[in-house]
């Protein structure tokens, strides 16, 4: 019996969520096996450090939902896996459901808390875009997708380090990838970012994104937007945060010129620290803000950028 976790990579590095999953798996008090597809020895070491006992390394597999699901299912069966932890990422959402069906296992998606043991686990997940949380008891086997940035990382796990290198046939794949275009190669993904700088209608126009981008750059943050900014055509909808945009849970969310409509709060309300910069002292966003600045964003944001540059010694 074991817990299986799936590692995902981005631009040649292990995503933080990959490590969060093995750390979360440790808490279930059993063998943790991480599946690493197209990764390196270095990536396996990082997974061991974060809590994996075993890493199953599988090479040379092009991504497709069908292929990955078939590979994961094969390993899960071999290891008699009871709990399968998958990132709630764009990729994870693509293959997790297929794994559940193939294993005849139940599935809970977008989980932020997990406890229990290999026989029975309890999970917590946001519903209605974070307007409520559900606690669910599930018998295993179970597939769980976990929201990035919600699990504490183990830094230096000292367990066994079994590395298996495997070849698995991914089966007959029906949907074929013909072309990939990286629009924002190297940029931090909104849903996995630990800091987000977000702009709303208060930024006045698309020509003003550089004001926010400069702050995002010094912080290594991703750029978010309200629906008003997206609908005005100021930025691509992939940046939209909210009930009909992306749900995010960063450590720090900086809302600039955003009023805090219920649909926006629904997408970012679980951020650990929220900063609101808004001219209007009565703006709804201040109700959820950890720190509020009532002032003109065009004066505050550049001053913040300068201040952080000084702090980090960036010239």
């Amino acid at each position: 019996m074991s817990v299986i976790t799936i590692a995902e990579l981005k631009n040649g590095s292990l995503k933080k969520i990959s490590k969060e999953l093995v750390s979360a798996g440790r808490k279930l008090q059993d063998q943790v096996t991480a599946i690493l597809i197209n990764g390196t020895e270095q990536h396996s070491q990082e997974l061991f450090q974060a809590g994996a006992d075993n890493v199953v390394k599988i090479d040379g597999k092009e991504y497709s939902a069908e292929a990955w699901a078939n590979i994961i299912t094969a390993v899960a069966k071999e290891k008699s896996a009871k709990v399968i932890l998958i990132p709630h990422s764009i990729l994870g959402k693509d293959y997790a459901g297929r794994v559940a069906i193939q294993l005849g296992a139940n599935i809970i998606a977008d989980v932020v808390e997990i406890k229990g043991n290999i026989e029975s686990i309890q999970v917590k997940k946001p519903i209605y875009s974070g307007k409520a949380f559900a606690n669910i008891q599930v018998p295993t086997p179970i597939v769980v997708t976990i929201r990035p940035n919600t699990q504490e990382l183990i830094e230096n796990y000292q367990g066994p380090k079994n590395l298996e290198v495997k070849v698995i046939d991914e089966g007959n794949v029906k949907a074929k990838l013909t072309n990939i275009q990286q629009v924002e190669a190297g940029k931090i993904q909104l849903t996995e970012a630990s800091i987000i700088v977000s702009g709303g209608r208060g930024i006045k126009g698309p020509e003003n994104w550089p004001v926010l981008q400069a702050l995002a750059d010094v912080l290594g943050a991703a750029l978010g937007a309200s629906r008003a900014a997206v609908d005005a055509g100021w930025i691509d909808h992939s940046h939209q945060v909210g009930q009909t945009g992306k749900t995010v849970s960063p450590n720090l969310y900086i809302a600039c010129g955003i009023s805090g409509a219920i649909q926006h709060l629904a997408g970012m309300g679980s951020s650990k620290i929220i900063v609101a910069i808004n001219k209007d002292p009565d703006a709804n966003i201040f109700k959820v803000a950890t720190y509020g600045v009532v002032d003109d964003l065009f004066k505050v944001v550049p001053a913040m950028t300068e201040e952080i540059k000084k702090l980090y010694g960036i010239s």
Partner: protein
């Protein structure tokens, strides 16, 4: 060609859920129900495909009697047939169950294209489409921003992390819609009135002969209260910015 659009009825985005929690359920009284926003993009795409290719569009919804309202909305959009899988004990988080029930009905309907939104805004799972595809043994292409069908082939441009990708496959296929796929044409009054008179086919879920293990929701709770916030004082915007950065560094320890 036959296109099935899976539509889910969800509480309106304005609904204040906290006030409606009772034990392990949401008290439904007073909730305004809508079709989950991304499913509207799926509906629109189905109708656009019908314009180009001869096709029948069937809208399918699973749930208690109230979901017939959602099916009426689909009729107002212009679908040819509405199908209600009636289940009075429906639980929105039970996605393994949902996928199996929908797949059982889809097997009978046998559509060439299955369209739905990439996420339902209540359960927020994004899993059911891939599960249905796996049960039916067909491909799924999620997060579509463009769909082109030619004979028995389909080419989809989809969002991936940090970019877009083209994927090709043979029909039948499950495709999920993002907001970028199209701009829904909202129903006219005439369409809405006509939709009221249309017949909705009802399938009782018990007649499907499925025996699927269900999950148990122990409780539903409001989000944890946020500690009270603080407004940063300062004479100038620069002074406020400086104090804010200090607090983020020294107190919140996030930068």
């Amino acid at each position: 060609m036959k296109i099935a659009v899976l539509i889910k009825q969800v509480p309106d985005t304005e609904t204040q859920i906290s006030a409606k929690i009772s034990g392990n359920k949401i008290n439904e009284s007073g909730i305004k129900w809508i079709v989950s926003p991304f499913d509207e993009h799926a509906l629109e795409e189905a109708l656009r495909i019908r314009e180009k290719h001869k096709a029948e569009v069937v809208a399918i919804s699973l749930g208690p009697d109230r979901v017939q309202e959602a099916i009426r909305t689909a009729y107002a959009f212009g679908v040819d047939k509405g199908l209600h899988i009636r289940d009075t004990s429906y639980n929105t988080l039970d996605i393994f169950y949902t996928a199996n029930v929908l797949a059982a009905v889809l097997k009978k309907e046998n559509p060439d294209v299955i369209l739905t939104g990439h996420i339902a805004i209540d359960s927020q799972s994004s899993m059911v489409p891939a599960m249905i595809a796996q049960i039916l043994g067909i491909p799924n292409i999620n997060n579509a921003i463009k769909v082109e069908i030619q004979n028995s082939k389909v080419k989809v441009t989809r969002e991936i992390e940090g970019g877009i990708a083209d994927v090709e496959t043979e029909l039948p296929v499950v495709i999920t819609a993002t907001k970028k796929l199209n701009e829904p044409k909202y129903p006219t009054l005439k369409g809405i009135l006509a939709a009221k008179k249309k017949n909705i086919e009802v399938i009782e879920v018990d007649t499907l002969g499925l025996n699927i293990p269900r999950i148990q929701i122990i409780s539903i709770e409001p989000p944890p209260p946020r500690p009270p916030g603080r407004i940063i004082d300062g004479e100038t915007p620069e002074a406020k910015a400086k104090e804010l950065v200090r607090l983020l560094r020294e107190e919140a320890k996030v930068i």
